[in-house]
Symmetry: C2
Subunit: 551 residues, 2 copies
Amino acid sequence: MNAITPTVTAGPLQASRKIHLAGTAYPEIRVPLREVSVHPTAGEPPVTVYDASGPYTDPAAGIDIANGLARHRTAWALDRGDVEAYDGRPVKPEDNGNLPADKITPAFPVAHRPLRAKAGRAVTQLAYARAGIVTPEMEFVAIRENLGRMAGTQALLRDGEPFEAEIPDHITAEWVREEVASGRAIIPANINHPELEPMAIGRNFLTKINANIGNSAVTSSMAEEVEKMVWAIRWGADTVMDLSTGRNIHNIRDWIIRNAPVPIGTVPLYQALEKVDGIAENLTFDVYRDTLIEQAEQGVDYFTIHAGLRLHHIPLTVDRVTGIVSRGGSIMAKWCLHHHRESFLYEHFEEICDICRAYDVSFSLGDGLRPGSIADANDAAQFAELETLGELTKIARARDCQVMIEGPGHVPMHKIKVNVEKQQKLCGDAPFYTLGPLVTDIAPGYDHITSGIGAAMIGWFGTAMLCYVTPKEHLGLPDRDDVKTGVITYKIAAHAADLAKGHPAAQVRDDALSRARFEFRWEDQFNLSLDPDTARLFHDETLPKEAHKTA
Amino acid sequence: MNAITPTVTAGPLQASRKIHLAGTAYPEIRVPLREVSVHPTAGEPPVTVYDASGPYTDPAAGIDIANGLARHRTAWALDRGDVEAYDGRPVKPEDNGNLPADKITPAFPVAHRPLRAKAGRAVTQLAYARAGIVTPEMEFVAIRENLGRMAGTQALLRDGEPFEAEIPDHITAEWVREEVASGRAIIPANINHPELEPMAIGRNFLTKINANIGNSAVTSSMAEEVEKMVWAIRWGADTVMDLSTGRNIHNIRDWIIRNAPVPIGTVPLYQALEKVDGIAENLTFDVYRDTLIEQAEQGVDYFTIHAGLRLHHIPLTVDRVTGIVSRGGSIMAKWCLHHHRESFLYEHFEEICDICRAYDVSFSLGDGLRPGSIADANDAAQFAELETLGELTKIARARDCQVMIEGPGHVPMHKIKVNVEKQQKLCGDAPFYTLGPLVTDIAPGYDHITSGIGAAMIGWFGTAMLCYVTPKEHLGLPDRDDVKTGVITYKIAAHAADLAKGHPAAQVRDDALSRARFEFRWEDQFNLSLDPDTARLFHDETLPKEAHKTA
């Protein structure tokens, strides 16, 4: 290990034990769950909770950041017989911002030859699902979503208003296959990200959350970003987006992916823009295409692609209070207006699909025209783009590509539900993935809360994944504390949504914690909470004596 | 000024100017509003916002805590000719916990003879409203709620889903009178709290928030509590409840009320319990009644009274996960079970009404059986008590008493709306005043957020006032920082509710801030926010240069 090897936060959470469940069709898979034990006086079994934290919370796992996580999925891909290893695209100086050798973040120490689909083959989970194949990824997801509950073995609490959701009491691998085949769920799982512990995003699954990390031109190093990723999943982030916009983008991303047990998403346009020195009008599809292949070979699991913003949509934004606030949307609008041409992402969308199909990179179709203020919510521009996203969904699915759809943004409470309804209708029930939404604009510094309100509601209405917002939104880049605050806030929103939908696994944890509260089992209350450290700390402030905690 | 005089936070918020508007029927009233100016380059008028902060943010006001605020409402009460000053109840040793002289918080330095209604007169705002009298309090409220907007002078944004709310474009004093007369709104305004700047609580008014303060047996002094009150209203608390349970309750309350421009609420049962050394079964109506008079003479504006918890309701709680979690509810249940008798609050309710009627203390009918967990939400116990609260509402109104109704608690999202619907139906549209509700139990340390989600939704559905929850809920007593976090979170919830209801005054501030954001007027963005200090601080962390802030 050399001096640059970052250290990350590791070790189990309090009173928690990581367990691994094996598959039936695939006995070799090891599905992680976390068991939280309670005080013996309670006479209760441990509470089993979803665990996105990966091997970092497993004392039995040897963590070596310079080597990366175990590549357990490589065998799964090879077993399918439809992929080939190849030399891959050589790393180019512009991939890391043309930095001189002494300023560059070192390349990840271990090189792996990338895999891609053999000619003419589709290696996506959607292709397999449509072919009736239950993959190890699907069985992994099924076991994970059950949270250890077995079919017919316990009374389920099914109190809730699920709207269009149909969540079964017990989840089977075959049911996961059906959900993926229908397009209602995706399993983002690039064949070049074999370190991944598969997870699903769909309205009939547990509500997921995403945390954004990423360096910028002025701040933060590889070590900080790797730790932010590990830190975000420790507290429950189900996926992580690397939104880096500075130098060293390629190498930092490699370190992140090789150590990530969760799907990693990116906005390839950001790196493409760096390659043309930040000048939007100099973007070309060649640069963009090359960036897609670069990132697909590294193992990025989903791409945000703003292909729905078309030239003729742009005039719809002129009367807005906050114009175009999506970074990807602004870049593309600038390009379209400068060249007075249709978006190259829209025009080349089929070619983009062919790349995604060869690696199983899922689409996260970006909402470049999402509202940036209450005043602009649900306007003609936003919904016109959503219609195009529906059209693109069909094209991508025809090529066996997995698709989810990004959503707003800033939306007052009374306009939230219609977003989900329109998205589901226009985009063939593709999973919805929303940023917040913020339900008011007047609280910068507290936008994790303004957006957490909207996130809980839109999750209830059927949004499959909630992209977190931190307290620094609109003001600066989140630090480690902000990442944690954002993740915990969004775990609250996602769980509140699951409760309101009547998810059969949701209320177990609430009830266990409430019983601990009523019986003054303080330690159990802390350990069962989303953030035991903070709960314990706050309690200590006024009642410092141990005696009070076990009263 | 002597050594014990507390200092409080004073001075205007950034870029803000306090203005006072005069009445038409009552030209002498001075209704405070806050004007936030924006940068001249914006070419926009200042934004006028509601201002609960009192004279503390007015540089022209001389603040002297040992003298108290100006007693401007005394003349209003005397002018009505239906009150009389009298010597009042002498302070007894048990009012301050029987403390020895050297441990007692000094009495407030200035003594005032209390007022009460002349024999047979009702001096409540409800009595006046029913008699067709528009009081100065009503005109004050009308001007305040308009936020400076004049009838017909500006285009109004009326986008929203108001459910049962009917908010006029422009609010007149006569309309306020009608709302009070109908019981849909209350103006908590004890005749012995002449320092009060009147405000209204009702579903057709701006959504209000309450902050709880109060000492406990082990912590905090009079000086801290007075500062907490001033601090809470600085950030927007519309009312403050003093929930003190320690010693010195009487004297601390005097200091708070004499310096409070907002209504002060209490739970008289807490002090009554202190008078019987904390032994619930030793409570008597005599002790309770004496406490009501003590507090009414001091100027408490509303009493939480748990008269709806009846003996026969208690068995309904036996199968609950968290039993009875309301402190007032637990005390009364203990009393009822010990004596196996009907609640003395229920049995003596008419006598309690007579006291409230003589001082215009509003009722906040307590929900002693509110659910303490998701599992117990909307259960038979909760709704049985709500029915009794409806019955008590009729009794109180028949005696011209103003009434609002307290609500839960812990409620998952899909069960929130029915709470408002049932409360409005059973309690004759009396204003609803809810604690949260928390939409999940699994996040101690973050219950301002779990409850802020529920508060925003229940506010939208028609709740008139939201009682804040701080990050220390369930864990300890809030400190000054927690008070601020709780208040800002609830201002977010209340404002989000007003936006969703389509309140004509709500979106103006969002739009002004959003324009500032889009034009990179950073200082305007900070100044228009709910918490300029935090917004400015967070921005500084990554972009410290002044140039960046005015870009």
